[in-house]
């Protein structure tokens, strides 16, 4: 850990300790440092209901930090930056607060092969794509989501998975696609044989 990040960690610890102590000037300093992050987290939530303002969500997020004797901040273990942690919990709180008024719509349960992969799969196999994807390992599912649905760059994926070269990304991509093709074909075969079996019985 570099000298700067050590100092930063120490400062974070000091600010958090001050906030948890509940001493007014220290709480004030904490909000001077991290209040902007709460505000940013709250504004990242798209609000459909006009009766809720950003200020309502901001106050709800602050209240969330203070509730149960500041439980959410007491649970912080210091494995990431305090600012990122505060951003995450404040955003989650704002979403929860907004959803209490406007419940979320039904989750669309359709997941066909992404456009970039449609050509590589047959029409029938395409329908099996979702089931095939679920049969992959969780990290492979994340990879496919990031690469084909969310269109993340190779560098982003590389950083996220902690790989060292771009070639790894490409080789993993090819492996997973191959795996998916095998799964979709197998599923397709299973479905066909099941239909035949049913017809024979009848």
């Amino acid at each position: 850990m570099s000298e700067d990040s050590k100092k930063e960690k120490e400062r974070e610890k000091e600010l958090l300790k001050g906030f948890l102590s509940g001493i007014e000037p220290k709480v004030r300093i904490f909000f001077q440092e991290y209040g902007g992050i709460i505000q940013k987290a709250v504004s990242s939530v798209g609000i459909k209901d006009r009766s809720i303002t950003n200020n309502d969500l901001f106050m709800a997020a602050v209240e969330n930090l203070l509730k149960d004797d500041k439980k959410s901040l007491r649970q912080f273990k210091g494995k990431c930056k305090l600012s990122t942690y505060i951003y995450t919990i404040s955003r989650r709180c704002a979403i929860e607060h907004a959803q209490q008024r406007v419940p979320p719509g039904p989750d669309p349960d359709t997941l066909c092969a992404p456009d970039a992969l449609v050509n590589q799969f047959g029409v029938k196999e395409n329908k099996m794509f979702k089931i095939a994807l679920q049969k992959c390992k969780p990290w492979e599912q994340i990879f496919i989501r990031m690469m084909f649905y969310d269109e993340c760059s190779t560098m982003e994926i590389l950083d996220f998975f902690g790989w060292k070269s771009e070639n790894t990304v490409y080789s993993q991509k090819n492996k997973i696609i191959k795996k998916l093709k095998t799964y979709t074909k197998r599923l397709q075969y299973l479905q066909v044989s099941e239909t035949c079996h049913k017809e024979k019985r009848n």
Partner: protein, 213 residues
């Protein structure tokens, strides 16, 4: 045949923050958490990752004052020990007129409004515990006035304190003074206010101030 409902796994906030900062290889997610990430938590991750990149502007003082007044009301801490009093002043008169003198709500030395040489200035002295609070109301231009608070302890030493001005229960302004004895609110329009003075140990004085036109 009954189908068992799939349990929804939530990735903890700290793990999500680690994911955003350091990536999947450092977050040590369980299999269920990885599935949850693949099935819907990636959107949250992207927002957090984006927020790390962009700079954050600090909160303005008014918002911090509002937070402090809402969640850390000084009155809630030591109302029982604080001295409370009322004072109403007519502002558009020269010299300014004390309509309602300072009245003690609780036992303690009485407070009286005094006028010095300046006809546009009214002073109130009050002994609150080991402190002496001196409040000065001055008429300035354009219907506005200023309220100053001078707090000294018995040895006439400077101390750290906070003076907060409320109107209709909402914090108008809060001044935190460190090792100084003077705090001032300027540009105050006519109306009913509540001024609270507190030190680290709690609130010591609450004054209802009516500024009448």
């Amino acid at each position: 045949m009954s189908q068992r409902k799939k349990k929804l796994t939530v990735i903890s906030a700290e793990k999500m923050a680690i994911l955003a900062e350091k990536g999947l290889h450092k977050a040590r997610l369980t299999k269920a958490e990885k599935v949850a990430l693949a099935e819907g938590a990636l959107d949250e991750l992207y927002v957090i990752k984006e927020s790390i990149k962009t700079p954050t502007s600090p909160l303005d003082r008014q918002t911090i004052d509002n937070i402090m007044a809402t969640f850390f009301p000084p009155i809630g801490k030591s109302t029982n020990n604080a001295f409370m009093m009322d004072i109403s002043v007519k502002m558009n008169q020269t010299p300014m007129k004390v309509v309602k003198n300072a009245i003690d709500w609780m036992s303690g030395s009485p407070a009286f409004a005094q006028r010095g040489e300046d006809p546009d200035k009214i002073s109130v002295y009050k002994e609150a515990g080991k402190f002496t609070v001196h409040i000065e109301i001055c008429k300035s231009c354009d219907r506005r006035s200023s309220i100053s608070v001078i707090l000294t302890d018995k040895a006439k030493r400077k101390t750290s304190f906070e003076a907060t001005l409320f109107q209709n229960g909402m914090c108008v302004e809060s001044i935190h003074v460190t090792k100084n004895s003077f705090a001032s609110f300027s540009g105050i329009l006519p109306g009913a206010y509540s001024l609270r003075v507190s030190t680290k140990k709690g609130e010591i004085l609450s004054v209802n101030i009516g500024l009448e036109e």
